[in-house]
């Protein structure tokens, strides 16, 4: 416990150190930021991916219409600032969002940026363009957009089917860059062209990614760095050692686990490290379409069996949060307060009492000390999935469930859960934007591609729409809490914990801000500079 407290203190001190050092001096121009990359991204096209392995190296190549302010850790509606758009305005009925675009912006190949590029990008995202993405994982985010129209070269409007204030937040994500009309989706996968602070130089699969300063960047004086070099090092031990040896200026963001962080701090005491939540939750996917988990009693027993604190203590030495679907406060903007959470079955502090209730439910369903339920817990063959799955299996024993671990290779994981070939699954869900629209529609709406459990509740779906149209944030928050509570009570996808992860950099690296409620939005790196 003492070590946890000292780590927390160290993290807090590190935060203070960064905020004070980063803004103490005048930024210096020049230098290459050397960072390792945890794996080789499948391509360079952010729109076709769903991993921040793409956002980290390629977000600096692009601009969005709007963006979450890069030096504010918590993403919220208040931290959205103009990017390629100079300003935006909602129509009176909240059904049209109009952007005035910046003039004089050029793509990296010298062609001018206009509203046609914005229309092209969103037409492709909505599947309305003759040019298609090979994959379009976030198509459903724009379900409420009827069309995108251009009034002039520098004005573009999003016409909505119904009010959706959250659209602005979705547009501010690192997942929503504006692509050039004149470059095909295929070329964007291998040689991306953007308007951002850094130009793409090369991407050698499994080896390196190189970006160089864009001298014509429309934000004068930025970026400070001459370039960014990413060396792809899939072996985490090698990567950490190389960082400790000073061969890298920065670790891959949010990739340092809490135990590894202690190693780094002991071997490189000058390194600046922060531990933050990253809006990735670990949850259980329950196949409620077939026995035995088609029984609500058994699903509820499952939820009651969880000792969330044990997961957090074992895996993160205390550095993780208990919450519902939405990331809990203070870093999460929409999550339920602790007192609300504790009213939900399974979230109460008395684990033994919860498990006693769970055992009664199991007995009601026909199981008991003499008749255990045998199931498999399927999960991906990756440590962050496997480790909590093992703890889950141990905890399920307390309610007469004998579970075996079914480890599935990544290639087969989504096909397996898509064909519902599992009983229980241990899953991780990352939210690119801390907004209920992204989380609820993507993971819980009827028919959504990423609603792996096929949970479908028409009544709650009405509430999804209601909160989505609500412009008053306080009122929307109340609705969101109500929905989140209901989702947990329905055992739609029991959330075990929201993890915290670490990022470290050398003390001469300035201007780094690690986002505390998303792992996808804070990698523009135009404000980063090297004090050496």
């Amino acid at each position: 416990m003492r070590s946890v407290q000292s780590l927390a203190a160290a993290a807090a001190l590190s935060w203070l150190a960064i905020s004070s050092i980063a803004f103490a001096g005048e930024p210096k121009q020049g230098g290459i930021l050397r960072m390792y990359h945890r794996d080789s991204p499948g391509s360079a096209s952010i729109h076709e991916g769903a991993t921040y392995s793409m956002n980290v190296p390629f977000m600096p190549v692009f601009n969005n219409l709007v963006i979450f302010k890069q030096d504010v850790a918590q993403n919220s509606m208040d931290s959205i600032v103009p990017d390629l758009a100079e300003s935006w305005a909602w129509s009176g009925d909240n059904k049209t969002l109009t952007f005035k675009l910046r003039q004089g912006v050029k793509w990296h190949d010298g062609k001018p940026f206009t509203s046609a590029d914005v229309k092209c990008t969103f037409d492709m995202l909505m599947g309305k363009s003759p040019q298609k993405f090979r994959q379009n994982p976030r198509k459903s985010l724009y379900d409420e957009v009827a069309d995108v129209t251009t009034a002039s070269d520098f004005e573009v409007a999003f016409n909505l089917k119904r009010p959706q204030p959250a659209l602005l937040a979705l547009l501010a994500s690192g997942y929503t860059p504006v692509y050039p009309c004149h470059v095909s989706p295929g070329d964007m996968r291998t040689h991306p062209v953007g308007t951002g602070p850094f130009r793409f130089v090369e991407f050698k699969a499994n080896e390196s990614i190189k970006l160089v300063r864009n001298p014509d960047y429309w934000k004068k004086g930025l970026p400070h760095l001459d370039g960014i070099d990413f060396t792809i090092i899939p072996n985490r031990s090698t990567a950490m050692l190389a960082f400790v040896a000073g061969q890298f200026d920065m670790t891959f963001p949010t990739e340092v686990s809490v135990p590894l962080l202690k190693d780094i701090k002991s071997q490189a005491p000058n390194a600046v490290c922060v531990v933050t939540p990253n809006n990735v939750n670990t949850n259980i996917i329950v196949n409620s379409s077939s026995p035995p988990f088609d029984s609500l009693d058994i699903r509820r027993a499952l939820a009651l069996a969880l000792d969330r604190k044990a997961f957090i203590q074992i895996l993160f030495e205390g550095h993780a949060d208990i919450g519902g679907t939405m990331q809990p406060p203070p870093e999460g903007f929409w999550g339920m307060r602790k007192d609300m959470l504790e009213t939900i079955p399974g979230y109460g502090p008395d684990v033994n009492a919860n498990r006693e209730k769970a055992r009664k439910l199991m007995q009601k369903a026909g199981y008991g000390p003499d008749k255990h339920l045998a199931v498999k817990v399927s999960t991906r063959n990756i440590p962050v999935y496997r480790d909590p799955a093992v703890i889950l299996i141990d905890q399920l024993k307390s309610i007469y469930i004998d579970a075996d671990l079914d480890v599935v290779e990544t290639a087969n994981w989504f096909p397996k859960i898509a064909r519902k070939d599992y009983a229980l699954g241990l899953n991780l869900t990352g939210n690119s934007v801390d907004d209920p629209d992204q989380s609820f529609y993507e993971n819980y709406s009827c028919g959504s591609e990423r609603n792996y459990t096929n949970y479908c509740n028409k009544a709650i779906e009405k509430l999804f729409d209601e909160q989505s149209q609500e412009t008053d944030i306080a009122k929307r928050k109340k609705l969101v809490w109500e929905i989140d509570k209901q989702l947990q009570e329905d055992v739609a996808r029991p959330i075990i914990f929201h993890a915290h992860t670490g990022t470290c950099w050398q003390p001469y690296v300035k201007g780094v801000t690690v986002m505390s409620n998303s792992s996808y939005n804070g990698y523009r790196y135009e404000d980063v500079w090297l004090d050496k």
Partner: protein
């Protein structure tokens, strides 16, 4: 001799054809393909998008058609395109070959140059403290996994020198240039050196008890001449066989070493390509490895005749 070589070359071609079929079929038996993985990475499966992508990559065609397409391209020197990077497979593979070849060559050199002399010394000094020490060393070489040894080397170099020899395509100093290849080569070659040493020792012990060695000594030949000229020359055949086999198995050790030392060579690339089910890369790389192994075998057979004049390949 010529007839033998021609026959061996023909057999090599038949072997390579068999290997090509096995590689191709095995890859497709493994569950999941690149399309599954791309969609897994995106976290969703859209059947229509998936079908489009399979059509685009030619994965919807019958397996025989896919095989003929690959083998036909291979014969024309067209290795196809990487499914992941969308670049020509040849452009992806070629720059990595010299890196791995250098590493493998150095590892084999390390293995032979350390293993053979130490094996001779161990045999000549049989039963002495030196022999015991060398046997312990060789046993530890066989027991230490190369990834563990590699990590140990990296940790030690960070602790002692504040730096570590991971790969850098543009080394700044000559010492760095040497270190980035030699240190991993030693890590991967240590096990081979240990094996070579043990084989050399046992082979030498057998030869040193032969009559012709006693005769050489009786004729007044020096110890060095007896050990290296007479004994080693006759003891070397099993050692060559082992080095040949080790050359074939080296790729396994290189996968780990290239991963630990972050060397962008062929071995690590192969593992990544398998993970992505990047068929054009995997098929062509495994075929290239098969060619190397078959050629290494052939070379070893030819070397037998060079080292032992009694061996003559005839019909």
């Amino acid at each position: 001799m010529l007839a033998y070589i021609v026959r061996r070359l023909f057999l090599m071609l038949v072997t390579l054809f068999g290997i090509s079929v096995i590689i191709f079929v095995l890859l497709r038996i493994v569950p999941g393909n690149i399309v599954d993985i791309l969609f897994a990475a995106a976290g969703y499966v859209d059947p229509a998008d998936k079908a489009n992508l399979e059509r685009e990559l030619g994965l919807d065609q019958p397996i025989v058609v896919q095989y003929l397409h690959w083998i036909g391209g291979l014969l024309r020197g067209d290795l196809g395109y990487s499914y992941v990077s969308e670049k020509p497979a040849l452009d992806e593979i070629l720059p990595r070959i010299p890196i791995t070849a250098r590493l493998a060559g150095l590892a084999l050199l390390f293995s032979a140059s350390i293993g053979i002399p130490l094996g001779v010394i161990s045999a000549v000094r049989q039963g002495t403290r030196l022999d015991y020490a060398l046997r312990v060393l060789s046993l530890s070489g066989l027991s230490l996994p190369s990834f563990w040894l590699g990590l140990l080397i990296l940790m030690a170099s960070v602790a002692l020198f504040g730096t570590m020899p991971i790969f850098n395509p543009e080394p700044k100093t000559w010492t760095e240039a040497i270190a980035i290849y030699c240190v991993p080569a030693m890590a991967v070659g240590f096990r081979s050196a240990a094996l070579t040493m043990r084989i050399t020792r046992s082979s030498m012990l057998e030869i040193l008890r032969q009559d012709f060695i006693r005769t050489a000594r009786a004729k007044g030949a020096s110890e060095a001449s007896v050990n290296f000229h007479h004994a080693l020359k006759n003891a070397i055949l099993p050692v060559i066989t082992v080095i040949g086999i080790e050359a074939a198995f080296l790729i396994g050790g290189l996968i780990v070493t290239e991963t630990v030392f972050n060397i962008p060579g062929v071995a690590r690339f192969l593992v990544e390509a398998i993970r992505w089910r990047d068929y054009p890369i995997v098929q062509n790389l495994v075929m290239m490895i098969a060619v190397v192994v078959v050629l290494a075998n052939f070379t070893v057979d030819m070397l037998y005749a060079v080292f032992d004049p009694r061996i003559r390949y005839t019909d």
